[in-house]
Amino acid sequence: MRLAALLGLCLLAAATPAAASDECLACHGQQGLTKTFAGGETLSLHVDGAAFARSVHAPVGCAACHAQIDLKTHPAKTREFTTPRAYAIAAVEACRGCHEPIYDAWLGSMHGKARDKASGLQGPICADCHQPHAVTRASVGTRLKDTCLTCHASAPEAHAAWLPNSKRHLAVVACAACHAPEAKRKVDLRFYDASGKSEVAGGYGELQPGQPLDEKSLWALMQGASGKVRLVGRIEVASADQAHAMADSGQALKECTTCHRKGAEAFQNVTVSVVGPDGKRVHYEAQKEVLSAPTSVDSVRGFYAIGGTRVGALDVLLLLVLVGGMAAPFFHFVLRRLLRPKAPNGKDLH
């Protein structure tokens, strides 16, 4: 019932969100606008209009989340919340209105559970990780990992203590890929410049939605880029709600062969993605073979997981060398024994 009501509110807000937002931003777009809570803490009420316009929330407008505000009585004289934190916790319900599955996953996660602990520990809520007025898709950039590190600052050192190539793991594996162990993982390939440092928005051919990219198409696409761009892969969680089901660190995946083995689940689902001019990431499906075909050595130069994305042709070559390396000496030895010259007395000459 509540979901239906909030959904309706979202749709209502979406009818004329831009105009409504402009009305709000007339005041809230100004620097210095603040609110002082009963507890004495101050909250900035300034909203960066440009950042909000680029955010994923821009289409639904202000009222979708701030439904409790009545413009006739705004700003209200009464102080419903004593601290900014209490206000932010209550605002989680607004997020829940549109993101119910994510809310449920978060509630069951170590983050959600931490909020309810009698110890008084305040677990992170939506606004702690997602800037509500500038929220972009989590898959854009490395902002989300950086957000994790703001609280888990010792994570790089903790990983370095046991994880080989820990810096690379932290760079290309989303935190949730291991810390939400039940989540389904996938590989997202992205176009970077030749130095592998910066993601690029062009320089490659046209990607067409529809049929999943096969290894030949991807190879042809990269050939067209003439080495100016490189595909770099990331291991991510396949859905946003699963990405919020963070488990206690003791339950996080630590078994290397979860990914470092042939047929690992993470490499069964592959996308190629680009960031469009509007800042939104667009995903195109690709066949899983793009990671293990011989052409991948050239077309997917910037992504490799030992064992997990190994090229089958090299396995065949190793097998041939192993068999040949043992068979050639064996047959040479047998021939030597069969053809060895004998002395007149029947004994071997050597």
Binding site: N165, G263, R310, G325
Partner: protein, 208 residues
């Protein structure tokens, strides 16, 4: 039978450390690349051992390099600059391994302390020791810490290219171990070359 001192102590130490190390690298390499098939130890242990042994072998390589650079024994790795002689000797050696050895003919190459490799061995070891082993070490170090060596990896063409070169050489060295061990048994006595690599002295036919 006469004895010649063919394998000085540094060479013998280098050789056996290298042999043992390469076997460990191949086994742990199989464990790492084929964790779904080969599980001698855990993946993480295999990686740690592979990395540690890799660095030991790099240091060991420097022992080999230092010995040959600073002694007159470097002649064993000198290439034969007379192309006609080189091809004639190579052909003769191939005919021996492919035909003469079955008829009990003597090895056409007579090892000395300064020319212990036959024409085929000479070229093979020049390529292996001066080109392939250093490339394998270099790619291994790059793969050991991908972020630290990000620039070099990108110059190489990307992590996948580095890894593929490392795997191709791993395949080559795996085959090489078998053939090398067998060829080492082709002497007047099956273990003569093995003994020579332990004692340093090789028995040679005085008639030759």
């Amino acid at each position: 039978m006469a004895k010649i001192y063919i394998n000085p102590l540094p060479v013998r130490i280098w050789h056996w450390v290298n042999a043992l190390g390469f076997v460990v690298l191949i086994l742990t390499g199989l464990n790492i690349r084929y964790a779904d098939v080969v599980a001698l130890v855990s993946f993480a242990t295999a990686v740690r051992v592979h990395n540690a042994v890799g660095f030991i072998l790099i240091a060991n390589y420097l022992v080999w390099l230092g010995f040959y650079l600073f002694t007159d024994k470097i002649t064993v790795y000198h290439p034969e600059l007379d192309a006609r002689k080189y091809f004639r000797d190579s052909l003769r050696q191939m005919l021996y391994y492919g035909y003469g050895i079955f008829r009990g003919e003597p090895n056409p190459h007579h090892a000395t302390a300064y020319r212990k490799f036959n024409a085929l061995q000479s070229l093979t070891y020049q390529i292996v020791m001066i080109l392939l082993v250093p490339i394998q070490f270099y790619t291994g170090v790059l793969l050991w810490d991908l972020e630290r060596f990000r620039g070099s990896i990108e110059l190489f063409g990307g992590v996948r290219v580095v890894a593929t070169v490392h795997v191709l050489l791993f395949i080559f060295f795996t085959g090489f171990i078998f053939v090398h061990a067998y060829l080492a048994s082709l002497s007047t006595k099956p273990f003569a070359h093995f003994k020579a690599m332990i004692t340093g002295y090789e028995e040679v036919d005085e008639k030759t």
